[in-house]
Symmetry: C2
Subunit: 185 residues, 2 copies
């Protein structure tokens, strides 16, 4: 059974919870048409953590993320898009290592399109959304970015489980792929 753990910011823990639903044999709310109940008995969610703060990342995952460019009124961190990519990688790797899971997923989005990382120690894939939003000036795009982020994370994970990552990393929303060769067009 494949063990997965998530450390999530802008996707609020939904990625892990949707995977847990499918793995438990029921459909979730936001990813049911992506996952269905196809993960039943094949995947175990070790933990799905929503970690909006720098101190949470430090204390719970033992990582030392860069100082945030901004902080919201509730103490949440906010990075630019470039730093989000670095931090999503830190989060995915750290939550995998810390929990002893086979694969980790990290997500974060401050100002820009955000970042989603899947990491298993050999393969590292980073994706983004198409939605430019600003955590510091929230409007309806925040929710739009979140929903697309959740769906893209689930697409990546489903492809990973099905051994089809080579096909997905060709998409224009995949911004980095190490340890996996894209299928020829």
């Amino acid at each position: 059974m494949l063990r997965v753990a998530t450390a999530e910011c802008f996707t609020h823990g939904y990625v892990g919870r949707e995977i847990h639903a499918s793995a438990s044999g029921y459909t979730g709310e936001l990813g049911s048409e992506i996952l269905g109940t196809e993960l039943e008995g094949r995947v175990s969610v070790v933990a799905a953590c929503f970690i909006p703060t720098i101190s949470g990342l430090r204390e719970l995952l033992g990582v030392d993320p860069p100082e945030p460019d901004y902080t919201t009124k509730s103490g949440a961190k906010a990075y630019s898009e470039e730093k989000d990519r670095e931090v999503a990688k830190l989060m995915a790797r750290a939550v995998r290592e810390r929990t002893g899971a086979d694969v980790g997923i990290g997500t974060t989005a401050g100002v820009g399109r955000g970042a989603i990382c899947l990491d298993d120690g050999e393969v590292t894939v980073v994706a983004r959304t198409d939605v430019r939003a600003n955590l510091l000036k929230p409007d309806e795009r925040i929710l739009e970015r979140q929903r697309q982020g959740i769906r893209r994370a689930l697409r990546l994970f489903k492809a990973y489980v099905d051994g089809e990552l080579e096909r997905v990393v060709r998409k224009d929303w995949v911004v980095e792929a190490e340890g996996v060769t894209p299928d020829p067009p």
Copy 2:
């Protein structure tokens, strides 16, 4: 600013996320009439973790929970109601200490009405739902138990923030209260 962290099982991380919504100035989905946006600027959610597995509790929180009475097909733990109360206390304390938060919330529900714990190092309150459900034989009561668990956790937390815990611990669904004296009837 009050810092809170949650370690959740049957409430799937919703408790922390609803608190984060209110603290960020928008209303959540399941607790909006309990919290509104009243926590804005008063509370910071350090982390909200959905941890369905024993290994997740061990590795992420560093606790040594009792062996589960049962395990589901997706690897989730399932305790009897009495053990759920002990484990919810372990979870609340551990997530608070591990993240350096001021107050921790732990939730778990296997077979029975489940348990919700709020702990700040001096005050420990344990509550239950009214819904007897069985994680091993899921039916519509699982969702009913979850929703009530989320709402009761939010009620406890709101009372804590407002300094009104003495009033709430008189309720029949509060099963343990240390460090707080119930108001006279």
